[in-house]
Structures are given as C-alpha cells and as structure tokens.
C-alpha cells in the first residue's frame, strides 16, 4: 500500500488556483460517495460479535457493561461520553470504559485487555470493533458529553490547556494545525477544533473508517497519531490527558447529531 501511496503523492491534479473551488466541491462529492459505499457496518457487525462473546477468566460477555446509561444499555451511550463514572471515580471515554468493563466484568488483566489496542488492516483490534458497534448505536442521538460534574469541568479545562500547550521537538500544540480558519495541510482542510462550528461535524463522525489504509480508527488512535506527527512522545492509552483532550473536543462540539461511525479519506 505504501508504494501506491507514494505514487499517489506525486500525482498533482489542480491545473490552476481558479479551479480550487470546483476541486473542493468535487472532493466533497467524493467524500459523500465513499460514505455511501463504506464497509463501516462490517466493523459494527464484528463488534456485536465481540460484545456478546464470553471472554476472560470469568467467561462472560460485555452485555452487562455500564457505559453510563445503565448495565447493558448501548443506545445513545457513545453520544454521552466522555463522562464521569462514580464507580471508577474518574472521567472516562468509550475506550477507557470498555477496558474498565473487561477488567471488572470479564476479570481480564489491564495488560491483556490493552495489549493491542490499535489494529492494522489485517487484524483490526477488539477495541476498534467494539467502538464501531457501540458508537453505531448513537446514530441520531445528540452529542452530550458530561460537562457538569466537578471532575468533568476539571478535565475539560485540562483538555483546553493541552490543546494550546506547545512542546515537543517541533514546538507544536494542537492549535498549530487546528488553530486558524481556512488552512490546509497538503490538500486536507484543517478544522479549528477549539471552535464549536468546526468541532461539531468532527465529533459527530468519529470513530471512523479510513479508506486510505482500510482501517477502522478510534478517537484514542486519532489523538495518538496527532501526537506522533507533533514529534511528541506517545500518550498512554486512555490516560487522563487523552480523555481530557477528548472531552474538550466533544464538549466543544456538543449538540451535533451523531452520524458516525464516519468514513474518512
């Protein structure tokens, strides 16, 4: 695939700047068409199987997992995440909560449950399948992450501070790329994620299938891969920092109707 990508990288297509507007429209049409023909449902299907499959020392499924709407309630659960969970005394996003359920319900060790959280095109991870399944059950629900509990407020503020915090070998913050309107990286439009009008369509379409590498990707992965490109060390999976950033984005984009899992370039 890398070779094909490299070949595609050198393929230029815009004859002149005057065509930029048409090009944008055509790219939107492309995005619409790939969304219509997306294999995203295959991942939802795979996730349903894993959700119902008895696993771990206790050989139980995740069907009793409480994602915030009560044990076993999946409908609308993703749209209300991240949020504070009293039983864990912590703000959690979907993936953090799934790990929690794997530990408490299935008796699995944290190390085992998180040993391969980011899959590849040949072996998507359990986390990716489950995210697709759970998020799919929020289609049509309004995004309403937890923003009222003191720990939720604290996490939101930490997320904001992280968003603007410059560090790493290249001095980047999230805002270095996502801070100014109307900018692109290569041909890719960059949403200003600190502004609701830009954050809303983004949070309403993650997690997502990426056609460029045929992989289903979660929000934890999205944050991880941004930090990789920012030349930072790696954020630990479902650490407070990643959840805070996730809540900052979800909170900034709240109110949008969830229409994911999305399909991206």
């Amino acid at each position: 695939m890398r070779l094909l990508r490299t070949l595609l990288c050198v393929a230029a297509f815009l004859a002149s700047a005057s065509h930029a507007q048409d090009a944008r429209k055509e790219i939107q049409r492309y995005q619409q068409m790939i969304a219509d023909g997306s294999p995203v449902e295959l991942f939802e299907l795979g996730g349903e199987e894993l959700w119902k499959k008895p696993q771990g020392p206790k050989q139980v499924s995740l069907e009793k997992c409480d994602l915030g709407k009560g044990p076993g309630v999946i409908k609308g659960a993703y749209a209300a995440l991240p949020r504070y969970f009293k039983d864990a005394d912590r703000v959690m996003d979907l993936e953090a909560r799934l790990v929690h359920c794997m530990e408490t319900l299935q008796g699995r060790s944290r190390a085992e449950a998180t040993k391969a959280v980011f899959g590849n095109q040949d072996t998507p991870s359990e986390m990716e399948y489950l995210s697709a399944y759970v998020a799919g059950h929020s289609r049509g629900a309004k995004m309403a992450p937890g923003l009222s509990h003191p720990k939720e407020k604290e996490a939101f503020e930490l997320g904001r501070a992280l968003f603007f915090h410059r560090a790493g070998a290249w001095d980047f913050s999230c805002a270095s790329c996502h801070g100014e309107e109307g900018k692109r990286i290569r041909m890719q439009d960059l949403p200003v994620l600190s502004k609701p009008e830009f954050a809303r369509p983004v949070v309403a379409t993650w997690p997502a299938y990426r056609v460029s590498n045929s992989q289903f990707k979660t929000m934890q992965w999205r944050i991880n891969d941004c930090y990789r490109q920012m030349r930072m060390p790696e954020p630990k999976f479902v650490s407070d920092a990643t959840i805070a950033l996730n809540l900052y984005l979800a909170g900034t984009g709240k109110g949008e109707t969830y229409r994911g899992p999305g399909t991206k370039r």
Partner: protein, 98 residues
C-alpha cells in the same frame, strides 16, 4: 481478515429491489508484499435463481461494497450473494427482502 463477515441489505424501492452487500476481504495487490489474494467471482441469486454473475479483479477496493438493483421483487424474496476468491475460499450471505 480473510473471509470475515458479510453484510447485506435488501430493500424494496420504487419498482425495484435495492441490494447493498459488504464483504470482508483483503483484496491484496502485489505491492503490499503479501500474496495476491482477491475475490474473483461474485454471484447474486434471487430465490435460488442466478441473476448477476460477476468476474472481478484485485482492482476492487479492500472490503468490497457493491450495490445492485433487481427488477420488481416482493417482501420475503430470498436474495443470496456469494463470492469465491483466487485461493478457493468462499463465503455467502442470504437475506429476505423487506
């Protein structure tokens, strides 16, 4: 994920039946440094009778998605889609029109 799950949706539309089918398949090309592995044949049957026979190549995207349209149709019609790949693996899925 070779020969993973398939998904099918068959819905009555104005005067025809819309069939949308998803297949889990790597559809590898040679440059992935993996053996060439792709679906070669796809067949669509309605109530056991073949209506579409397709020969396809590695130029079809990974995890193939196809839409077809069947003439007329009524609720309860059985639509079956099956595939065969170059290694002889196969998979099939059936659905009743809604």
């Amino acid at each position: 994920m070779a020969a993973g799950p398939m998904k099918i949706r068959t819905t009555l539309a104005g005067g025809f039946t819309d069939v949308r089918v998803l297949m889990t398949h790597p559809m590898t090309t040679a440059q992935s440094n993996q053996p060439l592995h792709f679906i070669t044949n796809v067949t669509v049957k309605v109530n056991g009778k073949p209506v579409i026979d397709a020969e396809i190549s590695q130029a079809i995207s990974r995890n193939p998605v196809f839409s077809f349209r069947l003439k007329g149709g009524q609720k309860g019609d059985k639509v079956e889609v099956s595939w065969l790949d170059n290694k002889g693996e196969t998979n099939r899925i059936e659905s009743a029109v809604v």
